[in-house]
């Protein structure tokens, strides 16, 4: 019985974690439906902030930019990251320690360092050559470069977990290089590739620091818009944007899970 106090404190700790994690989200969602222009008290339920949001061209523009940036960069980094992960796997026997370091460095590099160096790099390229003007293009390049290691890592760990003899079996069963990619490597990597895409997508859609330093005047994304908006105070409109983002993230997560579920169910029934 002497452990009761210990378990009680663990329990309290757990409640505190849940409260600090989810109560702010709940408050944001709640006050996005508040009629009054204040977070002090909840007056009436109202959708007026959402109406205001969806008629605001700046917000809509930022939303569009965020989506373009996230979808384009995730698509590119999924393809490149998958190739990188596969390459790391096929050459894993060679001594590639330093190369792997180069690949993983962006994961541990502080975003602020990365963002500032990308900014000065793009600016000097633009000043010298007149190309790569800061804007969506430079943001996509920056996002792709920090997303690639995450995708590559997912793909690589999936491949390392496989029986290496499967590649031999493919070769032994008459598959040429293209057939091996199409009938073995891509299907077996499919879960890792999909997970990689959505991970890259979520990294991109909520990135502020790197986006901020590499963006141009016409390429404001939602996080950048929110940052500039809250300088004037937290308005219910910002709460509404956050709520939309929460909804979008939940939807993506649910789509991923549904997809995995359908996939695992279909393997049994497919004859």
């Amino acid at each position: 019985m002497k452990n009761t106090g210990f378990y009680l404190s663990l329990r309290i700790f757990w409640y505190l974690v849940v409260i600090f994690l989810y109560l702010p989200l709940f408050v944001v969602v709640l006050f996005s439906f508040n009629e009054a222009n204040t977070a002090a008290r909840f007056t009436h339920f109202s959708l007026k902030w959402y109406g205001q949001l969806f008629s605001d061209d700046t917000v809509l523009g930022a939303f569009k930019n965020s989506l373009i940036l996230a979808i384009t960069s995730s698509a590119i980094s999924t393809v490149m990251g998958t190739m990188l992960g596969y390459g790391m796997y096929t050459h894993r026997r060679r001594r590639l320690g330093w190369l792997v370091w180069l690949i993983y460095l962006p994961i541990v590099m502080p975003d602020i360092v990365y963002g500032i160096s990308e900014m000065s790099f793009f600016t000097s390229i633009y000043n010298m050559l007149g190309i790569l003007r800061p804007g969506l293009g430079t943001m996509i390049i920056a996002h792709v470069s920090f997303q690639i290691p995450f995708v590559a890592l997912l793909v690589y760990s999936r491949l390392v977990g496989l029986d290496a003899k499967l590649f031999d079996a493919c070769h032994d069963l008459y598959a040429n290089g293209i057939q091996r990619a199409r009938f073995f490597i891509l299907p077996i990597l499919q879960p890792a590739i999909i997970a990689g895409f959505f991970l890259a997508f979520t990294l991109s859609i909520d990135d502020f620091v790197i986006s901020f330093f590499t963006s141009g005047p016409e390429s404001t994304t939602l996080p950048i818009y929110i940052w500039s908006a809250i300088k004037k105070g937290i308005t219910p409109e910002v709460n509404a944007i956050a709520t939309v983002l929460i909804g979008a993230v939940l939807a993506v997560a649910m789509i991923t899970m549904a997809f995995q579920y359908v996939r695992s169910a279909s393997t049994t029934s497919r004859a």
Partner: protein, 377 residues
């Protein structure tokens, strides 16, 4: 697929065969020439690691041939080179009279059953078995029909719609076999396919593999480190050690007439005694004098089951006096460790009703000269 017209053509030809017997007969006829010849085959992994040091082998079509040796002897490397999964550093490989040394694995009509089974986890059992035919461009209905025929032949029809992770080791083994056999390869390669199974299932599958090989008349090349398994299954065995072939022969020949000490030890428990002196009437060893006419050699081999034990002491040529040091009861046989002359000897006696000797008993070891072999180091 132009590189493998024979697979396609044979696929169409056997596809209509209704009965297994017809299928077996047809494949037997078409397999008369699928011999395997290895000429001076070498494999070097890095300047210091030489896996194979010039291997010459002739494996006639339709033979159940086993590569036997301890781990690291190069047997799996040799098998992978026949499959095309490993490039030869030197030498030639011929399959069915055709040089295939530089032909990649996917263009060789040879299939492998892997030790880890290597079944594709993303495919059903049905799609695993049909994988090879699919890669060769065989039409879907034809694949379906042949998968069903093969599954019936291997007795796994009820498993076809399972997922790979729902199978036991023995079931996976059968599916791996079906996945290889459905392609009707010239040669089937088996890389320690039974080593992950428990003893009972293993014995069962040994006999079954042998039956399948006999029915198909296909050349099987089997790799194992288990000399019992090799003797049960093989027409002929090549014993490998350290990248060399030590001896090639039938199980009986290897067991009873080994060429050297390594083969004698590897094929089963051996009493080996250095020959001290050799003359026209016999040899001298630590056991004493053994009378008989023997070929020259450095060692005398006495297999434990070739000697007879009689109680007490008796006189005569090749009657050796000994005492029992240890007895191990093994059911059908009793194994005795004996003190004999200046050395030890192991004898195995059949248990058919007679009394066993006790530790400390004095016995006479009667050595039959028929069971004796002289061999070189």
């Amino acid at each position: 697929m132009a590189a493998m017209p024979n697979v396609e053509a044979r696929g169409q030809a056997t596809f209509d065969c209704a009965s297994e017997a017809a299928m077996a007969a047809e494949t037997k006829a078409s397999r008369a020439t699928s011999t395997v010849r290895l000429i001076g085959l070498t494999k070097t992994f890095s300047p210091n690691i030489v896996a194979l040091k010039g291997v010459d082998l002739d494996i006639p079509g339709g033979e159940f041939f086993t590569l036997l040796g301890p781990s690291g002897c190069g047997k799996t490397t040799l098998l992978r080179m026949i499959a095309g999964l490993e490039h030869a550093t030197g030498g030639e490989i011929e399959i069915g009279g055709r040089a295939v040394t530089h032909i990649p694995a996917h263009k060789r009509n040879v299939n492998t059953v892997f030790q880890s089974y290597a079944l594709f986890p993303h495919l059903s059992v049905r799609d695993n078995i049909g994988f090879g035919l699919r890669m060769c461009g065989v039409k879907k209905p034809d694949i379906q029909k042949r998968v069903i025929e093969t599954a019936k032949f291997i007795k796994i029809s009820e498993l076809l719609d399972r997922k790979i992770d729902q199978l036991s080791g023995g079931q996976k083994q059968r599916i791996a076999l079906a996945r290889a056999l459905i392609n009707e390869p010239d040669v089937l390669l088996l890389d320690e396919p039974l080593s992950a199974l428990d003893a009972g299932l293993r014995g069962e599958l040994q006999i079954e593999l042998l039956r399948i090989q006999r029915r198909l008349g296909m050349t099987f090349i089997f790799v194992t480190h288990d000399q019992q398994e090799a003797m049960v299954m093989s027409d002929r065995i090549a014993v490998l050690s350290d990248g060399h072939i030590q001896q090639v022969g039938g199980p009986k020949q290897l067991y009873e007439r080994p060429d050297n000490l390594f083969v004698a030890h590897f094929m089963g428990h051996s009493n080996l005694f250095p020959i001290q002196k050799h003359d026209a009437n016999g040899v001298y060893t630590e056991l004493g004098r053994i009378v008989g006419r023997f070929e020259s050699g450095t060692h005398m081999l006495i297999r434990p089951e070739t000697v007879t034990l009689t109680p007490g002491q008796s006189e005569g040529d090749n009657h050796l006096s000994a005492s029992v040091v240890e007895r191990i009861y093994r059911g059908s046989v009793a194994e005795y460790r004996l003190n004999c002359g200046a050395t030890e000897l192991v004898a195995k006696c059949n248990n058919c009703g007679q009394d066993m000797f006790e530790v400390g008993d004095t016995v006479t070891v009667v050595v039959e000269t028929d069971g004796l072999v002289t061999l070189n180091e």
